[in-house]
C-alpha cells in the first residue's frame, strides 16, 4: 500500500513541481500590492508553463532531436522513438524570447506609471485614479 502511494507520488512529481511554481505565480499575481512584484509573479507563472512544455517533450531512451547525418542515416529509416519530441522545444524557444520582449514592454509601462503616480503600490495608485475622474 505504502509502496503504491509512493509510486504515484514519484511518477507525477515533475507535473507537481510545475503546478507548485504556477500556483506561486498565481498567488503572487493575486495578493501582491506592488506592480513590480506582480510582474515577477507573472514571470514565475510563465516559467512554470515553459518547464511544463519542455517536460512534455521528454522521451525515455531518446536523444536530442538532431539527426546524426554523417552516419549515412539518409538511407536507414529514422525512428521517432529515438529522438525526443521537437515540437515543445520549438514552441518554447520562441516563447522565451517573446517573453523577454513583452517583459520589456511591461517594465516600460511600470516606468510610465511611476512617472505619473510616483508610486508602484496599487492601493496608492487607485485613489489617485479615482481623483482624476
Amino acid at each position: 500500500m505504502a509502496v503504491g502511494v509512493l509510486e504515484i507520488l514519484v511518477s507525477r512529481i515533475n507535473y507537481w513541481v510545475y503546478i507548485a511554481l504556477m500556483m506561486i505565480g498565481l498567488y503572487g499575481i493575486i495578493i501582491k500590492n506592488n506592480i513590480m512584484k506582480k510582474i515577477i509573479a507573472l514571470s514565475i507563472l510563465q516559467t512554470a508553463v515553459i518547464l511544463f512544455f519542455v517536460s512534455i517533450g521528454a522521451k525515455r531512451d531518446a536523444t536530442i532531436p538532431i539527426i546524426d547525418h554523417t552516419n549515412a542515416s539518409a538511407h536507414t529509416a529514422i525512428s521517432a522513438t529515438h529522438f525526443i519530441n521537437p515540437l515543445p522545444h520549438v514552441l518554447m524557444l520562441t516563447a522565451i524570447v517573446v517573453a523577454v520582449a513583452t517583459l520589456g514592454v511591461a517594465l516600460s509601462m511600470i516606468i510610465k506609471i511611476y512617472r505619473e503616480y510616483n508610486t508602484l503600490e496599487e492601493d496608492e495608485i487607485l485613489p489617485q485614479l479615482r481623483e482624476d475622474k
Binding site: 536530442i64 538532431i66 520562441t94 524570447v97 517573446v98 514592454v105 516606468i111
Partner: protein, 276 residues
C-alpha cells in the same frame, strides 16, 4: 485578500494535481504529445529540408508562419517600448562632466562655461559621475569580440547543432548590453544609435517577409523555400535549408536589435542619452 488568494491558489493547484493523474508519465514514448504530428517531423525533417536539427527545420519551415509572427511580436514590442517611454525633449543639465582621455582627469563645467565639443581628447560623462574602471573595460574589450563570434556561429550553425536566429540574436544583443554596462550608455549609443537599431529591426522583419514574398514570386506558396532552387544552384531540398538560413539571419537581426533597444530605452528611462 491574502486568505482569498491562498484559497484560490490551493484550489486551482488541487484541481491541477487531480488532473495530473490523467497525464502521461515522464518520458512516455506513447504520450499524446509524441504520437500525432511529432513523429512526422522527426522522420521526414532530414528528407524534406536536409536540415539535421529537427528543431530548426520545424521552427523555420514547417511552422514558418508561427515564427514569422513571433518575430513580428518582438518587433512590435520594441516599437511599443519606444512609443511608451521615448521622450524627445532633451533637457541638458547645467553642469556637464567631461573626461580628458589621455590623463583621465574629470572636468566639471558649470553653466556658461565652454564645452570641449567634438574633441578627440574629451569624452562626455553621465551627470552622475562614475569612476573609470580599467579592469572591467579591458575585460569587456577582450571578451566582446568572442561573444559576437560565438553569436554568429550559433546563427550560422543552427542547422547542425542547437542554435538558430533567436539564440544567436540574444547573444549578439547581450554583447552590446555588456558593452553599455562596462563603459556607459552614452558610448554604446554612439556606436549603435536609435536610427541604426530601428533600421536593423525593420531589415530583419523585411528579410523574413521578403524571403516569403520571393517564394511567391517564384510561383510557390508563401515561405515555401523550395522555390529558391530556381535561381540557387541547389536541388529543391537543399534550397529549403538555405531558405531556413536566410530566415534565421532575419530573426537574429530583429532579436539583436530589439534586445539592445529594450536595454537602452529602459536604462535611460526613455531619454536615450545616459543611465546606469
Amino acid at each position: 485578500m491574502k486568505a482569498f488568494g491562498l484559497v484560490l491558489a490551493v484550489f486551482f493547484g488541487g484541481l491541477l494535481i487531480y488532473g495530473s493523474f490523467e497525464f502521461p508519465l515522464w518520458g512516455d514514448p506513447a504520450a499524446p504529445a509524441s504520437t500525432h504530428v511529432s513523429p512526422y517531423y522527426i522522420e521526414n525533417a532530414l528528407k524534406d529540408t536536409s536540415v539535421p536539427n529537427i528543431v530548426t527545420a520545424v521552427l523555420a519551415d514547417y511552422r514558418g508562419y508561427d515564427t514569422m509572427f513571433e518575430t513580428i511580436v518582438i518587433f512590435t514590442a520594441g516599437i511599443a517600448c519606444i512609443l511608451l517611454l521615448r521622450t524627445y525633449k532633451t533637457v541638458e543639465p547645467d553642469i556637464r562632466l567631461y573626461r580628458h582621455i589621455p590623463t583621465g582627469i574629470t572636468l566639471r563645467i558649470e553653466k556658461g562655461g565652454k564645452f570641449p565639443a567634438d574633441s578627440r581628447y574629451f569624452e562626455r560623462l553621465d551627470s552622475a559621475w562614475v569612476p573609470y574602471d580599467l579592469i572591467a573595460k579591458t575585460t569587456c574589450r577582450l571578451v566582446i569580440p568572442f561573444i559576437q563570434i560565438f553569436a554568429l556561429y550559433v546563427i550560422a550553425h543552427g542547422h547542425y547543432s542547437p542554435g538558430g536566429g533567436f539564440q544567436g540574436g540574444v547573444i549578439m544583443g547581450a554583447s552590446l548590453v555588456l558593452f553599455a554596462i562596462a563603459f556607459d550608455l552614452r558610448s554604446a549609443i554612439r556606436r549603435m544609435g536609435e536610427r541604426v537599431i530601428m533600421l536593423l529591426a525593420t531589415l530583419g522583419v523585411g528579410i523574413y517577409a521578403g524571403v516569403g514574398i520571393l517564394c511567391m514570386l517564384l510561383e510557390k506558396n508563401y515561405l515555401d523555400y523550395s522555390a529558391l532552387a530556381t535561381f540557387l544552384p541547389f536541388d529543391p531540398v537543399s534550397a529549403r535549408s538555405h531558405g531556413i538560413l536566410m530566415v534565421e539571419i532575419g530573426v537574429g537581426i530583429v532579436v539583436m536589435a530589439v534586445m539592445i533597444l529594450l536595454y537602452f530605452i529602459l536604462a535611460s528611462a526613455g531619454k536615450y542619452d545616459e543611465g546606469l
